[in-house]
Amino acid sequence: MQASHEKIENLNQLPKDIKEASALAGINPTEKERSGSFFQLDHSVICAKSAQEGVEVLGIEDALHKHSWLKNYYWKAVDPDKDEYTKAAKDAPPRGYFLRTLPGVETTYPLQSCLFIGKEGLAQKVHNVIIAEEGSHLHIITGCAVNLHIKGASHIGISEFFVKKNASITFTMVHNWAEGVEVRPRSVAHVEEGGTFMNNYFCLKPVKSLQLYPAIHLLGKGARTSSGSIVMGKGNSLIDIGFRVFLKAENTSAETIARAVAQDQSKIFARGHLIGEVPKIKAHLECRGLILSPRAMIHAIPELEARQENLDMSHEAAVGKIAEKEILYLMSRGLSEDEATSAIIRGFLKVDIKGLPVKLKAEIDKLTEMEFGI
């Protein structure tokens, strides 16, 4: 039996090191301007609470006990037999979070959830279910992090998103892993008529290997999705990230924007696969990569798959190093070479990611700049 951690009343009671590491993944320990908080340390759900009526925040185990209907969602979007990681998650005790907004409810502030590894060698397996009921708007910032001393650990995360009619989920995930951590999220989203799923991802710290390729199914008329990601490869990180969108109903639209920066010996695969299954859909994919070291690699794989006539699908991808003429341009306005390089990287990462509230965007920008020393 795995050792369990004590429950806490609020995130300010977290040990200092955990508080600091999770703050770098966007978690606010004061819980100020958050509509609820969830915290899982290793295998223990130590905090799950809502700060707003109509917003549910529970550990998935409690949620399965509380709502018998949840079995109609649990493992219904992600196939448990998809691969060895989903199988491993299926066989593990139910951990992870359940977040839900009731019909018509809009979260005043984002909910925050954190999955934290504090123990050396831990294999964390979580299964999250996120539901925005009809006409509701659910905003989540989720951070995954490890303690500074962790040399090796692994994280498998199953996430199932259900966006009901005319509802929306904005899901912003910040990863703050370490050089010895292997990460395998497996996520699927179902978006019904008029629904919107906005999926943003930031990975600013080194990781041993990360493979993330959520599938988003736009099932109802007029459903929309937009994905934005900023990934920095550092050290020996191997990062394989992308978004796959199935456009299955008329007037659905998808947009994905990715930025990848590769330093040191890192390798980044930046994927994107948009599948237009019916006419009158619109999909666009944009991927830009910046290579800052001769030993780093970025492999951009944008794919468009059109299965009908009369659809509008496009992509643009560009990968390269910083152009010398851009550095010289800024130097000719008075910046030093280092200042010019930083300004260009900062500009490169300044992506207009949709659905991110101004304040959250500022927090993310701050994390990015701190991480990059720019």
Binding site: E326, L328, A343, V351
Partner: protein, 243 residues
């Protein structure tokens, strides 16, 4: 004698094994409005990059003095700090850096009111929050360059082909603003066709041909001669003007 701003002595420049500048001498004095004429490929832009100190354009021999100080080996930004400025012919687009931020880089502490005022002059207000030069037309990019110069106010500015690839309306706007700016600054305008001279006054013309300055004198006379005889004709002229 009026103060020398820029003095270039015996500048020799080689790029990829090819001799571009062959012992060029040029002096620019305070308040002068020099027009540098020359055919395509004469080395006008190379001279400008050399004055700026771009890598790949470091001279093989000769020296460049700015306000009496040798700058031949200084990095680009050090020269800029001393007062060298440039409006590029084809500036690069930079993702994520707005024109407004460029103006803030050009002049630290520039006020919002100053930004607004100068942008209005260049008809660029609506471009301030766009990524610099990204998707700008030829004329818009040139106007953005002049706008940055108006913010930066360098003591000596080189305008590289401000009239190339620009429609007449923009040439007029750009020419008039350069003219107004040079009322209180020293500048050198590089042009191979000379359209810009219809909208700005110049005090001196020079022809750069085959890596050297072959003629110096009244800019309008020089332009007339070029239009009449062509640059090749100027090269064999028996009566080159000297200052």
């Amino acid at each position: 004698m009026t103060k020398e701003i820029l003095k270039i002595e015996n500048l020799q420049l080689e790029i990829g094994g090819k001799e571009i500048l062959k012992g060029l001498n040029l002096t620019v004095r305070k308040g002068e409005r020099t027009v540098l004429f020359g055919p395509n490929g004469a080395g006008k832009s190379s001279l400008l990059y050399s004055i700026l100190g771009f890598p790949g354009y470091r001279p093989k021999a000769g020296r460049i003095l700015f306000r009496g100080k040798e700058i031949t080996d200084l990095p680009v930004n050090e020269r800029v700090k001393l007062g060298v400025g440039v409006a590029f012919q084809s500036p690069p687009a930079i993702h994520g850096i707005k024109l407004r931020e460029m103006l803030q880089i050009c002049r630290e502490g520039i006020s919002a009111a100053q930004i607004k005022r100068t942008s209005k002059l260049m008809n660029m207000v609506e471009f301030l929050d766009r990524d610099v030069n990204l998707g700008f037309s030829g004329g818009e990019a040139k106007r953005a360059e002049i706008l940055q110069i108006l913010a930066q106010k360098p003591g000596f500015v080189m305008f590289d082909e401000p009239d190339s690839g620009v429609d007449l309306e923009n040439v007029e706007l750009i020419g008039k603003q350069i003219d107004a700016f040079l009322a209180s600054h020293t500048g050198m305008v590089i042009t191979h066709q000379g359209y810009i001279l219809e909208f700005m006054r110049a005090t001196r013309g020079c022809i750069l041909y085959d890596g050297r300055i072959i003629c110096t004198g009244d800019p309008k006379r020089i332009l007339r001669a070029i239009r009449k005889k062509g640059y090749a004709g100027c090269a064999i002229c028996k009566h080159p003007m000297k200052r």
